[in-house]
Symmetry: C2
Subunit: 261 residues, 2 copies
């Protein structure tokens, strides 16, 4: 018997999830819930979801299904929970990466189903490469959420709210901060009338190597080699740019100290 | 009439270049020069290079061609130049990214042909995505080198020795330093029993976005948003790890200051 699901909210996340879940035999979407019945109906028709009803948000307590997925904006989750009466014995999950599971703790069965997707808006999501992080308030609840998650992506992981914070922190280092380094590189390259596309193959290779052989083992460059001659040359090129100079010095020092360990 | 070329040295770079140049109608490889005649002969046969002679290094002064490509290790270039008599009126180039053009300045016509390739050893090189940086001691010489470079890759750029240093410096930021950030992320993720492959899609997306819309415009995350709540949360997670704490603080400060500009 397949897992019956209601999706609440038909924004970016909700409609992508509906599309993906509708392709699976292991789950069936029974309800699309929205403030706007017409839009819910439109989504059902455009995705050709069989045996699925459009439902007004205020009628959510009448739903009969196994799992309700709240794909509403992070800031609205608390209000939705407070403002609505949910049916009993149904698992309720939110889909936010930044919100803890406890946000739902006044419910009976609850959890998180977080597709860890890129932040690019409004384009087709390739869920196959997107890990889905799940968390439930009991083992049985977690298993139900896992069933839905496996219909979205093969990469399903149990991740606690505490660990989701660490994933976010890791992404700040590996994405936001690397982007800042790309911006510095971009600036240096423009001095030489070049741009990032001239070193894109190296940037891609760096990602691939780090994933394949571990970033710790993949480190190259003058700092790890202890090539003081090149380090001094580079610092002298940067001597009039305080920001770049500081980044160069700090990161080179840390990389060099790895060499000595 | 196609450009006639001699390749000196049949290591990693030399044999990859021979293979690629042999596919082009605009150049013809006339000589493969090596200390080991048998190996030169083997390369000619394995690549089926037509009308090409194997030549012993010491006979290099007898060559009759337009361009001699020295694909010897960086540290050996100076010795090769000092130790050998080159034929007159032939353009001599080295293929090193780190060495200046002046290394060859006691010759008549000289320059640099530097395929800016990844540092991964011994695997097939996709030259189509690899920029080739060229430099010559005169305009005419530069044009000859460009002809050979265009037979290697569509991405040919004139880059001075001074600017090649900047490219190297930019690659340190965009590859060596980003790898250090990946190592930090890897370490944080392992705390949550996850690894870099769980955020690989975000890392790849970060590269692609930076190249496509410029890293300066692509910056995201709590620092550029000025989200002090998240910044404080992250710093508190990192408070017992001095290295990560320092990197977080420095890079966030610089990114935040961009926001204010």
């Amino acid at each position: 018997m397949s897992l019956s699901i209601a999706i609440v909210g038909i924004g970016n996340v909700g409609s992508h999830l509906a599309k993906k879940l509708n392709d699976s035999d292991d789950v069936s979407i029974r309800y699309i819930v929205s403030r706007d019945l017409n839009k819910a109906q439109q989504l059902i028709e455009s995705l050709s979801i069989a045996n699925c009803e459009p439902v007004e948000v205020s009628n959510i307590h009448d739903l009969s299904c196994d799992l309700i997925i709240l794909s509403v904006p992070d800031r609205n989750i608390a209000d939705v929970i407070k403002g609505l009466a949910f049916p009993e014995h149904v698992v309720i999950v939110h889909t936010s990466g930044s919100q803890p599971i406890d946000l739902l703790s006044n419910l009976e069965s609850y959890g998180v189903l977080y597709p860890f997707q890129t932040f690019t808006k409004a384009q087709e999501v390739d869920f196959e490469s997107v890990p889905v992080f799940v968390e439930g308030n009991t083992e049985k609840v977690t298993e139900i959420i896992e069933t839905a998650a496996k219909a979205i992506s093969p990469k399903v992981k149990r991740v606690s709210s505490e660990d989701r914070k660490k994933v976010h922190l890791a992404a700040v280092f590996a994405c936001n901060f690397t982007n800042h380094l790309y911006a510095i590189a971009e600036n240096i390259l423009s001095d030489a009338k070049l741009d990032l596309s001239d070193i894109e193959h190296l940037m891609q290779e760096t990602v691939t190597k780090a994933v394949n052989i571990s970033a710790k083992n993949a480190q190259t460059g003058p700092a790890i080699r202890g090539d003081q001659n090149i380090l001094d040359q580079h610092l002298s090129i940067l001597k009039d740019d305080e920001d770049k100079y500081q980044v160069y010095k700090l990161l080179s020092k840390q990389i060099a100290s790895l060499n000595k360990k």
